[in-house]
């Protein structure tokens, strides 16, 4: 494969490209699900091919092929160069890439409990355990959809500036949807995932079967004992899960440099953040948001991005101040800096674009008890179902699934569907304290056209928000 990659990179230069890169990208794994206890069948995941991206005459061209012959790759290279040159007709200024230091490296995530060596029955046991434990929980859960997916992703990236990166990363994900009926009422815990890079040892430790039983019991408790959120202005504690979605949506996305410069305007939108807002306050001193692809076993893990740049933690907000954007080489050049390795491509047939990896609210110094002790009336939002945000990333909403009333420093009855509908500045300016401990939750972040759903972690610490009007 190395020969084909080098051939593609060299040929593009010979055809007139100023810059070229080629990426072999393979995914192999398995996917199956239980719907209400019944196995739906099994799908063997199998995809491989080469994507070629070139810069020629100041424009970008991309072509891919899943026919791994020299002839087919040569054709893809010719197409990519031709597309770039043809596109230059509608360029006002040439696209340039930042200067980077590149490496020749290989890295691999080595699982302790390797799913590749297991047969399907062993993997099925994970789903059966969730199914059986939920059925034995004493909660009426008539609709259950539980899915298992694993795959190994192999990449070989090379470019015309000396990068050569070989990587191998295993992924495993267990997801469930539970619909609970009690007292003729129904509540739902949809798309709840437990996911890691690495082996099944991570799933064994996370115990999604316990979480599923807990979710079922929580929904039953919500139906039988849940009350509306309190009226008026209250204090709100958001959990690591809710803080995670909030930092992902209202910090990670608007700090993506391609959005800031309008490249995604007709799809996922632009950003309220402008290039000159670096250094501007967006939240309280208590708020620091970190984006770190290098967290071991994280769902968004990588050490080198899909432009061959070495990854590092990015501090998007430091002590309430906008500190750094997520950058690829194109937008790093525009900002006169270097990339911070945010370019990701989900498959061989996709271009690398600016993405998050693992975004989290950095820990503070409060225990959970300290966070709630002086709250007279408040709501603790522990998990969420519905969420969305406008395409400038300033008007967001999160609706609690599991939530509780806080009264005089104590957790009381469940609260039904508290709605936190708030601006980005309103949210992060309201945080006056952050918890000590952090947790992470997996998700699939959608962006790009064609769509590229990339694995990410979202999470961080608990946060206390003062003076919030919840919708009911």
């Amino acid at each position: 494969m190395e020969d084909l990659i080098e051939f593609a990179v060299d040929m593009a230069l010979k055809k007139g490209a100023k810059y070229s890169e080629a990426r072999y990208h393979k995914k192999a794994g398995i996917d199956f699900s239980l719907k209400n206890g019944e196995l739906q069948g099994v799908e063997v995941i199998n995809s491989e091919g080469i994507g070629i991206r070139v810069l020629a005459d100041g424009a970008l061209g991309f072509a891919s092929t899943n026919i791994l012959t020299k002839e087919s790759i040569a054709n893809a290279v010719e197409v990519a160069v031709k597309l770039a040159k043809n596109s230059s007709k509608l360029r006002k200024a040439p696209i340039e890439f930042s200067e980077e230091t590149f490496h020749r490296v290989s890295y691999e995530v080595i699982p302790k409990k390797d799913f590749s060596g297991l047969n399907m029955e062993d993997k099925m046991d994970y789903l059966r355990r969730i199914e059986e434990d939920v059925l034995a929980s004493g909660v009426n859960v008539p609709m259950r959809f539980i899915a298992y997916t694993d795959w190994v992703e192999e990449r070989l990236f090379s470019n015309s500036e000396g990068a050569w990166i070989l990587s191998k990363i295993p992924y495993v994900n267990i997801m469930y949807n539970l619909v609970v009926y009690e007292n003729n009422q129904m509540e739902q815990a949809p798309f709840i995932s437990t996911a890691f890079t690495g082996g099944l040892e991570n799933i064994d430790m996370a115990k999604p079967w316990d979480r599923a039983v807990e979710d079922a019991k929580v929904l039953k408790n919500l139906i039988t004992h849940g009350k509306s959120a309190p009226e008026g202005t209250v204090d709100v504690i958001i959990s690591p899960e809710v803080a995670g979605i909030a930092v992902h949506e209202s910090v990670g996305h608007p700090y993506e440099s391609d959005r800031i410069y309008g490249r995604e305007a007709a799809q996922a939108g632009e950003s309220f953040v402008k290039p000159d807002m670096l250094g501007e306050r967006i939240g309280s001193d208590a708020v620091t948001v970190i984006e770190d692809p290098t967290l071991p076993n994280s769902w968004g893990f990588y050490l080198y991005d899909d432009e061959g740049v070495k990854a590092r933690p990015r501090y998007l907000i430091r002590d309430g101040i906008i500190n750094e954007f997520l950058l690829n080489r194109e937008y790093a050049y525009k900002l006169g800096t270097v990339s911070n390795a945010a370019a990701r491509a989900v498959n061989y047939d996709r271009e690398p674009i600016v993405r998050m990896a693992n975004t989290y609210l950095a820990p503070g110094d409060h225990s959970f008890e300290e966070l709630i002790e002086d709250i007279k009336i408040g709501v603790y939002i522990k998990s969420f179902n519905e969420w969305n945000i406008d395409d400038r990333r300033f008007q967001q909403r999160y609706i609690g699934r599991e939530a509780y009333l806080i009264e005089n420093g104590e957790i009381k009855n469940p609260v039904k569907r508290p709605i936190l509908e708030i601006t980005t500045r309103g949210l992060w300016s309201s945080v006056d304290a952050v918890g000590k401990d952090i947790e992470f939750y997996p998700g699939t972040c959608g962006k790009g056209e064609p769509m590229q759903g990339v694995p990410v972690w979202m999470g961080g610490a608990h946060a206390r928000l003062r003076n919030i009007m919840l919708r009911r």
């Binding site: 719907k35 199998n46 991309f62 072509a63 054709n75 309008g262 008007q395 509908e421 064609p450």
Partner: protein
């Protein structure tokens, strides 16, 4: 590709599989993306792949291959055989459709002139039509070929073309308009129309102010309603219903929308971007009334689910999951002027980020983007911003108040399933905004 399909089919039969579906695709696809009035990247894909579905004693397995070496195919099939050895049976599996079938030619789904069209010219004309500088979007040129062979006497082929544009024009950060246009034949492709509409909406936005929460009649532009119905369409699949991802659970034969509302899936729709001659089991695609005059008539089914529910097969295989081809709202009697002729309403030109608190009850919210306007006595009164539609899908369908006469085809980044839909007005829609 039929040769390859037949080779795989024979090898799978010999190995002992029962039902077998071999679906090969050859797709040529071009994309040009643009933003700020200039091209950001051009792409081209040529992809050849074969999807394999096999059944053995009610145990189901599938995969996709791109390597057609005999030894490789044999290993792939052996792996599937091994996987099904100790697998549990799927008791509600009733097989695949029995062929052979007759297929009728469908008009306006293939035009060789599209294949060699230069996308850049179309983009220039669409951008110019907006009358604005800051314009973003994407243009696709498609040329798919499908080859299907099954163990139940099906051997069929389909080839199509398509060209489509999605374009968003900005007057400034808070004044934008979006429009899309899709066609299977070049003679009906009018990218400048999309450009004109996107530019027109953007120019209508003057100093928008934050809207107020409450209940409003909402006039949905075809783009906005298409986005919502594209997602709703996925919930009409029986698979979504059974898995707890649909508000249509237990609603067969019941009223789920206003009597004026009829929603179809038309797999053989001329010039439909999702049109195909046959589904993944080879059954000729058809015109299916999903909701007829407000009553839910059927879920979308494949052969096996049609047997399970004792309903007529709607020809929407996916062997694993039935899916819609082209959603289609029957036109109503209202002109655009009549749709807007209400004392007070909000006109929403586009929405995105539709998410559900509860899929089974249908509680959800979605966010209007681009031009949003307060309408009073049939006139655009002013532009507003920063609102959210927070309601329930069933309640909204029940509250359909007026359906326009003219349908537009909506298919873009936010509307994965093509939807043919007119302007629709809905009564008493919940509108919320941020509290801080």
């Amino acid at each position: 590709m039929h040769d390859i399909n037949q080779k795989i089919l024979k090898m799978a039969k010999k190995m002992g599989f029962g039902d077998i579906v071999i679906l090969s695709n050859e797709n040529e696809r071009k994309q040009v993306r643009f933003a700020n009035g200039e091209i950001t990247i051009s792409k081209e894909w040529f992809e050849r792949k074969t999807e394999i579905f096999v059944e053995r004693d009610k145990k189901l397995a599938g995969t996709t291959i791109t390597n057609y070496d005999t030894h490789h195919i044999e290993n792939v099939l052996k792996n599937l055989y091994r996987l099904t050895e100790n697998m549990e049976k799927r008791e509600d599996y009733y097989g695949i459709a029995e062929g052979p079938f007759k297929y009728e030619e469908i008009e306006e789904v293939y035009d060789s002139k599209i294949i060699d069209a230069d996308p850049v010219d179309f983009i220039e004309s669409a951008i110019n039509a907006t009358g604005l500088e800051r314009v973003a979007g994407v243009l696709y040129v498609d040329h798919p070929k499908i080859f299907l062979d099954t163990s139940n006497d099906v051997e069929c082929y389909d080839e199509g073309t398509g060209i489509e544009i999605s374009i968003r024009a900005f007057k400034d950060d808070l004044a934008s308009g979006h429009a899309t246009h899709s066609s299977r034949v070049l003679s009906k492709f009018k990218p400048e129309k999309a450009g004109e509409k996107a530019g027109m909406i953007a120019k209508m936005v003057e100093s928008p102010t934050t809207g107020e929460a409450g209940k409003y009649d909402v006039i949905f532009d075809p783009l906005a309603m298409g986005n919502l119905l594209s997602m709703v369409g996925m919930f009409t699949s029986v698979m979504a219903v059974e898995a707890g991802f649909s508000f249509l659970l237990n609603k067969l034969g019941k009223k789920v929308a206003d009597g004026s509302f009829t929603l179809r899936d038309i797999g053989n729709l001329p010039n439909g971007y999702g049109t195909r001659k046959f589904d993944d089991e080879g059954v000729p695609t058809r015109n299916t009334k999903i909701i007829e005059n407000g009553i839910l008539k059927t879920y979308l089914l494949n052969y096996s689910y049609s047997k399970k529910y004792n309903l007529e097969n709607t020809a929407n295989a996916g062997v694993a999951m039935p899916r819609p081809w082209n959603l289609y709202v029957d036109p109503g009697d209202y002109s655009e002027v009549e749709i807007f002729d209400v004392p007070r309403a909000i006109y929403v030109t586009n929405i995105w980020y539709t998410r559900f608190q509860n899929y089974v009850s249908g509680d959800f919210s979605t966010i209007p983007r681009d031009g949003i306007f307060l309408v009073e006595n049939g006139e655009i009164k002013k532009a507003i911003k920063n609102i959210r539609i927070s309601d329930n899908v069933l309640r909204m369908l029940m509250n359909v108040d007026a359906i326009g006469k003219h349908l537009e085809q909506i298919h873009w980044w936010e509307a994965e399933v093509p939807v043919h839909v007119p302007y629709i007005r809905i009564r008493d829609v919940g509108i919320t905004k941020a509290t801080k």
